[in-house]
Symmetry: C2
Subunit: 267 residues, 2 copies
């Protein structure tokens, strides 16, 4: 039976993949990836570096791996979408990706071959691959067994770089898309890691006594970190983010936003 391995590749550093992931990479005959265009070339470079560094090129009787690149379908990214519209647009995009990857699996993966998808960070954290695979299997266009190899996320790389715990004692860890904190940190929720921010949404949050721990290109040679009271560093983060995006042509960043506790300032 065909097999598909969905492998977390970590947040960017080529050695931040697990030994389990390295073993999985070395079993793969065909890697499937979407072509995200030039703007995300930094991501594809990290992908290639991981394969170059960790896949043993001479595998005895087995030939080397192949890479099948699938064109990325268009996606409605209108910022004016409401929640239902946003979910509909994401659903359409998942369906289009599922059809393309289903066709590619059917055409390119031989009966006893192993396919692989390298996913940034961890496949369970803000990534659509598992949802798309469920759609492919439901469509019946290709049959395969599949398994998931977890990876380190940019959230953990952020905390490691700042050398901070994500949770305070007894409190939750909350990870959220930026659109959920545009109105501020909800009451009773004292910290949040913000993902998928197309700018630096926290700059618009007026609440005093918030601290921020921000990082871009985490774990890579280009890593940049800024931390401090939100009111003091928000402008610097917004400016730095724009400059970096301009210089590299793309950016991956995330941040922890935390409500200060009177008894533990800065904690």
């Amino acid at each position: 039976m065909r097999e598909l391995l969905v492998i977390g590749m970590g947040p960017g550093h080529p050695d931040q993949v697990t030994v389990q992931a390295v073993n999985a990479l070395n079993r793969v005959d065909v890697f499937f990836q979407f072509d995200k265009g030039d703007a995300k070339s930094g991501l594809n470079a990290a992908r290639e570096e991981i394969l170059a560094r960790h896949v043993v090129s001479d595998r005895g009787t087995r030939p080397g791996y192949r890479v099948v690149t699938i064109p990325e379908p268009p996606r409605d990214r209108s910022v004016s979408l409401d929640r239902a519209g946003y979910e509909g647009s994401v659903g359409d995009w998942h369906q289009a990706r599922a059809e393309l990857i289903g066709q590619a699996l059917a055409a390119e993966l031989g009966p006893d071959e192993v396919g692989g998808c390298l996913v940034w960070g961890d496949p369970s954290v803000y990534d659509s691959t598992l949802r798309i695979i469920d759609r492919v299997l439901a469509s019946g266009v290709a049959e395969f067994a599949y398994s998931v190899i977890p990876g380190v996320t940019s959230v953990q790389a952020l905390a490691a770089a700042h050398r901070i715990p994500l949770n305070r004692v007894g409190e939750p860890i909350h990870i959220t898309p930026a659109r959920q904190i545009a109105g501020g940190l909800p009451d009773g929720l004292d910290s949040a890691v913000v993902m998928l921010d197309r700018g630096f949404t926290a700059a618009e949050v007026a609440e005093p006594a918030l601290s921020v721990f921000w990082g871009a290109y985490l774990s890579t040679a280009d890593e940049v970190l800024i931390r401090g009271p939100l009111g003091e560093v928000a402008a610097e983060i917004t400016r730095t983010r724009a400059e970096l995006r301009e210089r590299h042509g793309w950016i991956m960043d995330t941040y922890l936003l935390r409500r200060d506790r009177p008894d533990q300032p800065g904690a």
Copy 2:
């Protein structure tokens, strides 16, 4: 200058450490660990397995590593503690640990040596090591540089084993200590990963239309998974958890609790 590496060791599988962590392990002269007693012997066995498997025993001119075991200070675990009492008890315990590890670092780590702490999962997720190191540095008993190597957590191992994303489209990921969900999932928060549960607190949650994805000894040969509508599987999880704990003498488990959406039942 002395150096201390705080290394995430992943959720239990000896190959679920990153290549970066393996490289760090091989730089360590002295590992520091707390003796948690017999009940947690499964954890120490996994630790030993990681070192045996990934640390190169013959490192040329350098001798092998040493392991310094520190007695675990007592902790007030009364369930009757309110929030302030709980935080106070945790603070006292951190202070006692900080004093012990500060003394051990001062006594056991030579001027140019590298110390290491292997932390279950990831050092930033429900672990006290970073807070304790801050206390040690503040006390001045030992000086050292330190850095953090992130690791895969049991949360990611849970999602990988069940092959599910932790977030639904556009929604947050919420990770919380069990005491926060004893009254049910808060309004507006549709899923939560529950950690640090000394039983299966979700069994007491009366809300219908909740699904649960539970796992114990994740990523190890002893892994057990149960999933389904909470009302249908809660009793099975409670019973299984008690049996496993009795059989192994300890248990590590976690679960995702998710409010079903009418438009996406079971998603």
